[in-house]
Amino acid sequence: MNANRRHIASLAWQAGTIVLLLTVWQWAALTYPAPYLPALENIATGFLRLWHGDLLFSAIVPSMTRLAIGFVIAVVVGSVAGLTLGYLRNLDPWVRPVFEYLRFIPAVAILPAALLLFGPTDTMRIFVIAFGSVFPVLLAATDGARRVEPLLLEVARVERLSIPERLFRVILPASLPSIFAGVRIALSIALVMMVISELIAADNGLGFYILRNQRLFQTANVYAGVLAIGTIGLALTLALLAVEKRVLAWHRGWRGLPGADG
């Protein structure tokens, strides 16, 4: 009862904060008309226009496609490579210094090089997205694989599992909680890299849409694009959390009752 009331109160506060921010913005826009302060209704119109018709296919769809491909490559490559490295510890001294160094390179810094390498193409943008977001997954997977309960690996040996079977039936599921933590970080990096890669030599995508409207002084559309990116980020994160909740249901229960007796 009490918890319920507190929940409603907290929701009210959150909604109140948002309404307050919007009110302040609208008041400022009406009181001090300026190009960089468009009225809310103009932003809303721009925002809604993005999700259908031409703009859907020239802004949202190209961006989402690149993001999806780059992100999936990062998750797959990062997981497989990370699990293998974590499991085959002998490789560690050879490979570790390289990764430890590479992960300190801000992915943005690779952009000019990627542009030289691939030209102003989708491949370049996908590469940049994947490069930026692969490291959190890779490191999380390596860490997860290294911390698999040794007794479970012995059970796998007694049951005569081959090395691929050990990877997919023991090491992967045991590392999933760690991998998901890496994937969540990777998603936010992938989103950043998507926008940045579309600010250079692009002719479609949300990044390009924002940049072009800025040059045309269509500020309402600029903010509409920014809001669209935020909305996509939020939606993808919620989707990821929903998947995680399903896949890792065992993990929350297991951690909730360590050595449950009763």
């Binding site: 007794l151 479970l152 012995e154 229960g253 449950a260 007796d261």
Partner: protein, 269 residues
């Protein structure tokens, strides 16, 4: 038993193992196990029982001597061998249900047959009602029964038990002992039980192997010719049981005292 005629399922021939030259764990450990025989290995705590079990399972290779399974040496666990570990909450897969844990070792066989064998194993350990729960939702004794079912579902010939009842309460331990003895007899399994519980060893085994303190050597092998089926009350009250228990207890206590004396000596120096 007619075991003398057939080839031993397991032969330990002067097995030695050391983690370093200064820390020998096993020295010249020799004994053999006939098919269908229930062997219990006891010894003072910390004497190297678990190291020995890992050598027997071929999870570890001995430095000296040989471990022979039906006359052969193995670099990996032989296919007819199964293990139940002491730590049930670390040895069961937390992301698999009880049913999936039990079926884990059954691959490359027809799905219908697999399901049938899993059901059989579950009912043998009396876990059918909990098949769809996760292991961490079960009590300790139930988790160990799940591990036992996972071990017998592959129809092993040699079952290794590494202190399987050490982490459960007394009543559960007794129930598990009866269940294991029953299953092993029904499946005519060769069973090797590593334990520090002398009553348990004498009660369950056909032969008790007593180990010395570190480095572990075989002090004595004692045939336990108590009649089957054994009963927690009548067997344990029989004069023969008490005589055997007395003998094993004396041997183990003697080893423990030697170990304590050696410690004191070292501290005196």
């Amino acid at each position: 038993m007619g075991a003398a005629m057939s080839e031993p399922i397991l032969v330990m021939n002067k097995v030695g193992k050391a983690y370093s030259a200064a820390v020998p764990i096993l020295r010249d450990v020799s004994f053999s196990q006939a098919p269908g025989e229930f062997v219990a290995v006891v010894g003072p705590s910390g004497c190297g029982k678990t190291t020995m079990l890992r050598c027997i399972a071929a999870l570890m290779q001995p430095d000296q001597g040989e471990v022979l399974h039906l006359g052969q040496q193995f670099g990996d666990p032989p296919p007819w061998l199964s293990i139940v570990f002491q730590d049930y909450n670390r040895s069961l897969f937390p992301w698999l249900s009880v049913r999936q844990n039990v079926g884990f070792g059954l691959r490359k066989i027809d799905r219908r047959e697999r399901d049938e064998r899993v059901e059989q194993a579950l009912s043998a350990v009396n876990l059918t009602h909990a098949a769809d729960l996760y292991p961490w939702q079960l009590s300790g004794g139930m988790q160990q029964r799940c591990a036992l079912a996972r071990s017998i579902v592959v129809r092993p010939q040699l079952l290794l038990l590494d202190e399987p009842f050490a982490s459960v309460d007394a009543q559960t331990r007794i129930d598990l002992q009866d269940m294991v003895m029953d299953i092993c007899k029904k499946m005519s399994l060769s069973t090797l039980l590593v334990t520090h519980d002398i009553d348990e060893a004498v009660f369950m085994a056909d032969k008790v192997v007593v180990l010395s303190t570190r480095p572990a050597q075989v002090v004595e092998q004692i045939e336990i010719d108590l009649p089957h089926p054994r009963d927690q009350l009548t067997t344990k009250e029989s004069p023969e049981f008490l005589r055997l228990r007395h003998r094993v207890y004396t041997l183990v206590r003697h080893q423990a005292q030697k170990s304590a004396a050696a410690h004191t000596e070292r501290e005196d120096q």
